[in-house]
């Protein structure tokens, strides 16, 4: 079966002839979580932006991004504004790094979860509300009905990201592009969000393109991963192989720099401390 998304030789040039992504090829099989790792500025966020037509003004792209989640395969890079709005939110949804910034501070949670349902699925206000309550319940927001009437600032950071995920899932997209959704959160909250994504994948066959700079997250969540550096893919493969047997020097340094789980799971006695 062909992957739901395949990017072929993507290149992105920003205004001022600045190439931020070059020759990137990448595949997301249906129902899998694929990871992109790399430090900030490595082009991973730009790649995600390109998949939703959110690149900065006057950016130029080359290559193809074949999307097979709709009625027929389309090249995302050639869509016009109208076709974009059939794909975005409906077939491909996005979760941003910082939910505090990506939720509108002056609109209720209810509005932000239901507005695109009403546009894409032509749902009535009441039906959209009912589905929103379902969604909030599914992302484990307590008191979903009350939450609909609340504003984002009334929630904690982790709850806000759950709201953002609920909004992204509203129209049952086939692919979720998650751009470092847990970076701004602390570790326990982060684990909850990751578990949620995995559940969604199993329950509804959601495909996820998960962007992170945290290799531990990558290992916990993804089956396949791509390592980005300076706008290029320098290494890719099954996540496990990639992390345990990195071939590229850069990946090796990344892996080595990562604090090992057993560093704190099983603390070795510090010399002299036990004496």
């Amino acid at each position: 079966m062909s992957p739901i998304l395949s990017i072929e030789q993507l290149a992105i040039t920003l205004r001022g002839d600045l190439r931020v992504v070059d020759d990137v090829s990448l595949e997301v099989p249906e129902g899998e979580i694929v990871g992109i790792a790399g430090e900030s500025g490595s082009g991973k966020s730009m790649t995600a932006s390109a998949l939703l037509g959110l690149l900065p003004d006057r950016s130029v792209t080359a290559g193809q991004a074949w999307w097979r989640g709709g009625r027929e395969p389309v090249d995302l890079l050639t869509l016009d504004q109208r076709s974009w709005n059939r794909v975005r939110g409906r077939e491909i949804a996005m979760v941003f790094q910082d939910a505090t910034a990506s939720l509108h501070p002056m609109l209720t949670v209810g509005t932000q979860i239901t507005e695109h349902m009403r546009v894409h699925l032509k749902m009535s206000r009441r039906a959209a509300r009912a589905r929103a309550i379902e969604l909030l319940d599914r992302v484990r927001i307590p008191d979903p009905e009350g939450a609909l009437r609340s504003y984002p600032h009334q929630f904690s950071g982790g709850m806000r990201q759950r709201v953002a995920i609920a909004a992204a899932l509203a129209c049952e997209p086939r692919l979720l592009v998650a751009d470092e959704p847990t970076t701004a959160l602390d570790v326990t909250v982060q684990a909850g969000i990751l578990r949620l994504l995995e559940e969604l994948r199993i329950e509804s066959g959601l495909s996820v393109l998960f962007i992170t700079h945290d290799l531990a997250v990558l290992a916990a969540l993804t089956t396949h991963a791509y390592v980005f550096r300076e706008g290029r893919v320098i290494e890719s493969g099954p996540t496990e192989a990639l992390l345990f047997h990195p071939e590229h020097d850069y990946t090796k340094t990344l892996v080595a720099a990562r604090p090992q789980a057993d560093d704190w799971d099983d603390p070795e006695p510090v010399a002299g401390a036990t004496a």
Partner: protein
């Protein structure tokens, strides 16, 4: 709980307003004290100074024999009773004068403000959306010219073009001289004439307001557009706008429901400032259009060194400005849930 938070906000704002107003009266009072020489000889006419009765009454009324702080308290007491002194020029209480002239100014200022807000938001948003493209550059250039144009000169130029050259506009005043003005009800000649069913008179009055409103609007719009543009640029850059796009909402909905809503908060805040600059503009513009409003009253008083009148106007404008700011703050609190609910 929600109510008590909002109430607390209101009370805080009210206290700040009162403190500001007291400060304003203090400035007015000190300005009178700063007059070189005797306050009395500056405020009373030559003739009145000859009359010992008037002088004595004046001294008593303003507590001139008392120490300075008592004089201030007396001044405050008189103010609270609506006593702003008597204008030397008109010989009437300043408060009465203000009540005569204020409606004329509002007849220009309010429509100009509404027009400015509508045009300012629309054009500012347009420029922000077209950021760094031709439309944006054109708007920026236009607003810079607007900001750099002396208001009184612009008034003169439009008067020259539309009255002197083209003859399509009256030269000034609120009504053509041969028309008997309508009974004053609302204070706006246009509305009063319409209330009496004299539509030709109302139309004549509208024609008289057109040019001054145009000039005031041009000046205020220039400032508003620049502000709206930068506010909207900031919002367009925000993650929540990208998120709205990522949800596949139509561009128009993203602009109205998301961008405008967030961008309006700073715009509402600045509209108080815009209204103040509009009121300042009336001082100069009314002069050119022989418009019998507060601006012209202020000007005539200032040039005649009619101190009670000048200070009365300053105080009035400061009160209006402070009140507008209070309203603005409240609107701000109502629009932004973060202020209302936190």
């Amino acid at each position: 709980m929600l109510g008590s938070v909002l109430l607390g906000f209101l009370v805080r704002r009210a206290i700040i307003t009162v403190v500001l107003l007291v400060g304003v009266t203090l400035v007015s009072f000190l300005l009178i004290q700063a007059v070189p020489g005797d306050t009395m000889s500056a405020t009373l006419s030559e003739q009145a100074l000859q009359d010992p009765e008037i002088v004595a009454a004046y001294r008593e009324r303003w507590g001139l024999d008392q120490p300075l702080y008592v004089q201030y308290l007396v001044y405050m007491r008189n103010l609270l009773q609506g006593d702003l002194g008597v204008s030397q020029q008109t010989g009437r209480p300043v408060l009465d004068d203000l009540l005569t002239y204020v409606p004329a100014t509002l007849e220009l200022a309010l429509p100009a403000m509404v027009l400015s807000l509508v045009i300012g938001v629309a054009v500012g948003l347009y420029a922000a959306v077209k950021h760094d493209r031709l439309g944006d550059h054109a708007v920026r250039a236009g607003t810079l010219v607007g900001l750099s144009t002396p208001p009184f000169w612009l008034a003169l130029v439009v008067l020259y073009v539309f009255f002197f050259l083209l003859g399509v506009s009256p030269s000034g005043g609120r009504l053509s001289t041969w028309i008997v003005p309508p009974e004053q009800v609302t204070g706006s000649v246009v509305l009063d004439a319409a209330l009496e069913g004299r539509w030709d008179v109302a139309w004549d009055a509208v024609q008289h307001t057109a040019l001054p409103i145009l000039v005031l609007t041009v000046l205020t719009v220039a400032m508003l557009v620049r502000f709206v543009r930068s506010a909207m640029l900031e919002v367009l850059d925000a993650d929540y706008v990208r998120a709205a796009r990522a949800k596949g909402l139509p561009g128009s909905r993203v602009l109205t429901a998301h961008v405008l809503r967030a961008g309006m908060v700073p715009v509402i805040t600045v509209s108080g400032l815009a209204f103040a600059s509009l009121l300042s503009g009336t001082v100069l513009v009314e002069q050119i259009f022989s418009w019998p409003g507060v601006g012209q009253y202020a000007y005539r008083s200032a040039t005649a060194l009619d101190l009670p009148a000048v200070l009365g106007v300053s105080l009035f404008v400061a009160v209006v400005y402070t009140a507008v700011n209070l309203v603005v703050d409240l609107a701000y609190g109502l629009i932004d849930p973060r202020i209302r609910l936190s």
